[in-house]
Symmetry: C2
Subunit: 321 residues, 2 copies
């Protein structure tokens, strides 16, 4: 429900403070529901929850970043189907130590990332509770979504941006070190690839998924949904430079970590065979986001991962084999 419907006394004050901070990042409020006009087509919806201690730690991120990241993860699901964001509903469970200023900061992060992809905060809900939890429902529209199911033999596989930036930041944070700034930005303020998704949909994208759990795992979902095999050579992955530097000291494989690391929120997309590097350059020009060819779609099932042509098995990959 829109924020003003949620309780009495101080709760309403807090809602007013949030609405004041959101400004035109919020849509009208004050009824039992939020309303969005609907036109012929499809409404896309997705819900995602970020829980303190499970999905984030407060000591690693500012409250604005926690809000941004929670909403970005949900908005990425709209990107994954090439929907145009309408907005988000934010349901907050707030422990006692988070008062009005802290709530405003959380909601500012949610409002900022939503506005960055053209949406508004449509409504929300606040409850007390023992741990901070942020439930985000995203709402978007499209004439016809790009689903996971449309990849066919001969399609080429591409990823947006680079992989492993969030993992590089996480490795540093877990070691008690400050992450490199670029990696930290990927981790703290991921950018949902809404613009790329709509660009790719316009060029005939056949199937798409966002990389929330990591390429190796998420590729398996796309393969299963399309009933095809994805052949990916990880030697060609666009590894985030901070992950390369980070693992230079430990001797771990940067490409392997980039292939299994989650939360980069890049897109994996199957494009028709005629889509090529010239088109990818055009995508970079139009969106500012690189697009890298990483494999092909074959008859079969599952994901065949190679590194320089040699078959590899990755740690997190067994779940999806």
């Amino acid at each position: 429900m829109p924020m003003p419907s949620l309780g009495a006394g101080r709760e309403f004050d807090r809602i007013r403070a949030v609405l004041a901070a959101l400004g035109d990042h919020a849509a009208g409020a004050g009824d039992d529901c939020a309303f969005v006009p609907s036109d012929p087509g499809v409404i896309a919806l997705s819900a995602d929850t970020s829980v303190e201690g499970v999905h984030f730690r407060r000591e690693w991120l500012s409250l604005e970043e926690i809000g941004w990241r929670a909403a970005a993860g949900a908005l990425s699901d709209l990107a994954a189907v090439a929907a145009e964001p309408i907005g988000v509903l934010a349901a907050l469970v707030l422990p006692d130590d988070l008062g009005e200023p802290e709530t405003v900061r959380l909601m500012r992060g949610i409002g900022d990332v939503t506005a960055s992809v053209g949406g508004k905060v449509l409504g929300g809900d606040m409850s007390g509770g023992r741990s901070l939890a942020i439930g985000i429902t995203v709402v978007g529209s499209c004439m016809s979504p790009v689903r996971r199911t449309g990849a066919v033999t001969g399609d080429s596989l591409w990823v947006t941006g680079s992989l492993g930036g969030a993992s590089a930041a996480l490795l540093s944070l877990q070691a008690g070190a400050a992450p490199a700034p670029a990696a930290r930005a990927v981790f703290a303020r991921p950018e949902p690839r809404v613009q790329s998704a709509r660009w790719l949909a316009g060029r005939g994208a056949r199937a798409m998924i966002d990389l929330s759990d990591g390429l190796a795992g998420d590729a398996g979902h796309l393969a299963a949904a399309s009933a095809v095999r994805l052949r990916i050579d990880i030697a060609g992955l666009p590894v985030h430079p901070d992950l390369v530097s980070r693992v230079a000291r430990t001797g771990e494989s940067a490409v392997a970590l980039a292939a299994i690391g989650g939360e980069d929120y890049e897109l994996l997309v199957a494009m028709p065979a005629e889509f090529d590097e010239r088109n990818a350059a055009e995508h970079l020009h139009d969106t500012g986001v690189p697009l890298t060819r990483i494999g092909v779609v074959e008859a079969g099932q599952g994901v065949s991962l190679t590194e320089g042509g040699v078959s590899v098995t990755l740690r997190s990959f067994d779940h999806f084999a």
Copy 2:
């Protein structure tokens, strides 16, 4: 996101078990978003969270009832604007002691109440966490919603069903006693007044709100939104019979408790002056739900509560004065 998109290994097993239990109470799953066709009109959306220890106690209710009640509270917001339910997205935060069978029971309650008003479970999300929390986003459609803003001087005020049943149950539970069965049913399995709302919208309802926080408080929201005064004589409230019996021992005023008690999820509606008791009888015939005239809309602001013509002030009313 639809349930199958949410994690690895045992999480997918749990999702499959939930989908099997929901059967045709769930819509298609397996992509990054849920999709609903959209037609010209308005999509209504609302989010609501139920947190263990704040909104319910596990020892008072079965898991099916906890799920039902959480979703019913959110679906009631669709009723409040006379929207037709499309479905719900359910975001669960599950502590370690709630495994697959418990998750299935929770989701069965959510699916049952959603199906009872013609909707489906469209998607959801599961996370671990310290306390059980159930975030429900409801989605509905309508050509033009009934809002809180449309009440005008001379309208009559009506409520559906009876008031105070949930309070009667709560008083018993808090005293460690078993609630009377009818009161317990109101508390544990409230029925969102979707059918009544659409019937009333068809008869020209001007403004509506659902009574989640109690009549005295929620009437204040409607008065403020419509910029009118609501004059309500609480002597005429349809008090739930179990509340009357319950307070017979203590000497408290049943009508006063019925006026301030929350969570009955009945509707307060402003109807044009010509709407009368004959129409209310027709409503009862068509929906099975009584409709009781409780007051009038006047010029002014706020809520004027009387009991047999004498002005009364109720405990919870000061917040909204």
